[in-house]
Symmetry: C3
Subunit: 357 residues, 3 copies
């Protein structure tokens, strides 16, 4: 019995030392593959290489949760993207930064409130519906939905406060406000958004909205014209039929380019599917459309973009998988929405490995 007590004493001492450490979890993803792209730049435009983040953005993060008692918790997250093929770390405002998350906040029975740099409320909604939910480069919703100028910095917002509810009978909602931080002009450069979701059994429905104002050109983030408002609306759903899950989404957005004073209006559609294949495989595919309705204030012609993408992932473990993905993008002759392809068709093929740590 003395030995048992000794064991407990040693355990106690050790657990104490370890809990001093346990306040931080170092985590992340390294995802790289061999890729071959038809960049759409012309006759001789094949680009082969090693690229990072084909299935999920490579990243490193530091996070922790402290139990404050009575269900209250303090939380922090610091997370940044890595272009792992060159090792380069991501930037915000031209400086190396925890570009994905830099937050502190409290959570509990009331939900969670976080301050800092984080995901916009509408991005939470569309990521939950996207078959390529973790993003990546093959065919994420965010590559086609909502003009990049409108979305700001990949759907991530600085200087923000965000509320996320707990789930009530399957319902969950969230809202954010991001300060524009322009002296004497409260509201300038600011944006806000919200989401409302319902997840129950096989059904998951997500609604999101975001609106931004801008009175200053050149600043990072959400950048419409002076005194204008940008708006994005998202509605999507998934339904799990057992053998496969169906994904569908609709987006509607309006923005004004900095140089003009007239609206651009877009409608976006996505139809997708995801399914388990055997014990270790999974497949995801989507067809995404950007329908440009109005450009420069007049009815748009030949400004649509379409992307079809498919990926197969084969698990080697819960943390590690191999993947192969392919996407084909076609732009109308006046469409330049996608950075990969200007006015032409293009494609991308990737085979690689994703490791979570």
């Amino acid at each position: 019995m003395k030995k048992s007590l000794l064991a407990l004493a040693v355990l106690g001492a050790f657990a104490g030392a370890a809990s001093a450490q346990s306040s931080v979890t170092v985590y992340g993803i390294v995802d790289m593959g061999i890729t071959s792209q038809d960049t759409g730049a012309g006759a001789n435009d094949r680009l082969n290489g090693v690229t990072s983040g084909n299935q999920s953005a490579s990243r490193i993060g530091f996070k922790g949760t402290e139990d404050l008692g009575n269900g209250l918790k303090a939380n922090f997250v610091l997370e940044q993207t890595i272009a792992a093929d060159t090792g380069v770390l991501s930037q915000v405002d031209g400086k190396t930064a925890f570009n994905r998350f830099a937050t502190v906040g409290l959570s509990g029975n009331f939900g969670a409130v976080n301050l800092g740099r984080q995901v916009s409320a509408i991005k939470d909604a569309y990521d939950a519906i996207d078959p390529f939910g973790d993003g990546g480069t093959i065919a994420p919703i965010s590559a086609i939905f909502f003009n990049a100028a409108l979305k700001g910095d990949n759907g991530r917002i600085s200087n923000s406060i965000k509320y996320t509810s707990n789930s009530y009978s399957g319902f969950k909602f969230g809202a954010h406000y991001a300060f524009g931080e322009q002296a004497g002009r409260t509201g300038a450069d600011s944006n806000y958004g919200l989401n409302l979701g319902y997840a129950n059994g096989p059904l998951n429905v997500q609604f999101g909205y975001m609106s931004g104002d801008d009175s200053t050109a050149g600043a990072p983030g959400f950048k419409p014209v002076k005194n204008s408002k940008d708006k994005m609306t998202f509605l999507g759903a998934t339904y799990d039929f057992g053998v496969a899950k169906l994904h569908a989404a609709y987006g509607d957005s309006k923005n004004q380019p900095v140089a003009g004073n007239v609206d651009n209006k877009y409608r976006n559609y996505m139809l997708g599917v995801s399914a388990k294949v055997g014990a270790a495989g999974s497949i995801m595919a989507s067809y995404t459309v950007n329908d440009t309705r109005t450009f420069g204030g007049v009815k748009a012609n030949d400004r649509d973009s379409k992307r079809a993408g498919i990926m197969y992932a084969h698990d080697l473990s819960k943390r590690t998988n191999l993947y192969a993905g392919y996407s084909h993008t076609s732009n109308d002759k006046n469409a330049k929405l996608n950075a990969l392809v200007a006015d032409q068709s293009g494609s991308m093929f990737a085979v690689g490995v994703r490791h979570k740590f």
Copy 2:
């Protein structure tokens, strides 16, 4: 008993694995709040936002200590500031850096010697007296004491060697030398400093001194005029009356702006108080004065700055607290010492959360 031995054996194996990890501690602070500033820029100058580091600078660090036997230890620290509201990491010389600490050294019966980038000896002295000891943005001594041009990079020095003594009957002292690293001009751009402290019972007295030379303009750090010397002297004390602790400090400094060849002379004063309020609360307040004696070599008129600040912190745990702080700064009509306010009065209100990990 066999089971106990097994427990110990498992423990041993596990402790071994853990000790392979235990050479590094990942630690830091994320501190953010909602702030509203009267920036003093004119009639319409209110700046609202989310700001980082109101009570203590947000930061992430990696540190470790190795026991070398006979009381000797090897130590390292790598620590950097985070502008958590945008996620941006701090820079030194225009590049992302462990701007707070990048040191390696030995410690033991003789005290501690560290090489690299670290806190200047005089900063150790004034941080120990400041009611807002952890810095932050409300009313730290460093915002008023010692003209920013004189202090160099927030009191942090590169290319340095620093000695810190152990405590002898309450007495403790330290000294640093930072190389200027100008080829063929030993001493150019260099600086040195020292501190002497006495802490015993309710009394803590701190003295600090720093002197810097510069022969090259434009370099980082301590930047007076060619062949000139900059000097800072600090004397401060705290006395704990039980119900509250009284803080008082005096500073005297001299520098020469790069464009001129004539002295600027300053005297600084601080009177402060800190106290526990109930089981979980603490309050800290100070009144800080910069008295510009000589500017451009002639007697200074209307060049004084004053700041009054107060903060209340409410502990949710040992590691997490909420806070509310307010400061008011008034500059004489020719005073531009404080970056926040030029030639006018201003104020800052912040309410937020600080989480240590």
Copy 3:
């Protein structure tokens, strides 16, 4: 017995929590010393300071290995250099980066395959022969062997795939290919390399080769002239006589400067020794020669460089040592190979501490 079971249960719970953490190891080196250099810039060129990485580059890294079963493992490494004297982190392509390693890959019975940024195959070969194997600044092979313009970014390559074999009866080999990632010009800017080693008892022989192509100027990495090929060949060996280990190496390289279209050819020689001195000491020394054979396409005159270096390291533990090192470099009157010294002789003396964590 109940207490023992409790101990095991607590252990189990705790081990579970810990193993969730165990997928990442945070590691690194902080190495700094006081240095005095004769920079060779003229009569008054002494440079004293605190420098980082005299014995081994200061660095911080994150790595992990996951056992996938059947001997298969998933591995990742993220590692960057720190100029610890100022805290500044290293850059790739002008941005802060994991400049040393950013890899993900699989290993097993077949060897290891890794994607991303990593060490070139030829660098593996010369690092294994160099008495100053960890690099540093005193007298590493890489300071003299293979013109810096030819080697690319310190022997580290981006956008690469690399294979490393396991050991077969002492034989081991490796090969890499780094994509140039120039659209429509596969092979442009690319490079490849290989190594073959034999280590058995006292003998270690290493052969390495690297070839690079470049059609674009200004890009990072391996940069010869349009349509030209750069080539490096390395052969080296060590033999352990027990009392001391002898090191010898030969290098042959050819490149073309960007501005010209004519060959530069070099031959390099290294003779070195390393030995244990007592229980805690070790000594390493080398004499390295760059023999410029052809410069700008014509026979080279007075373009040779020679460096003699010696270092003594005294272990305080397995992880921490003190060191003193000295090197002397002499350049022929037209030689500018070494960044430290242009057209003249120079020297460097360093005394410091290296701590591994």
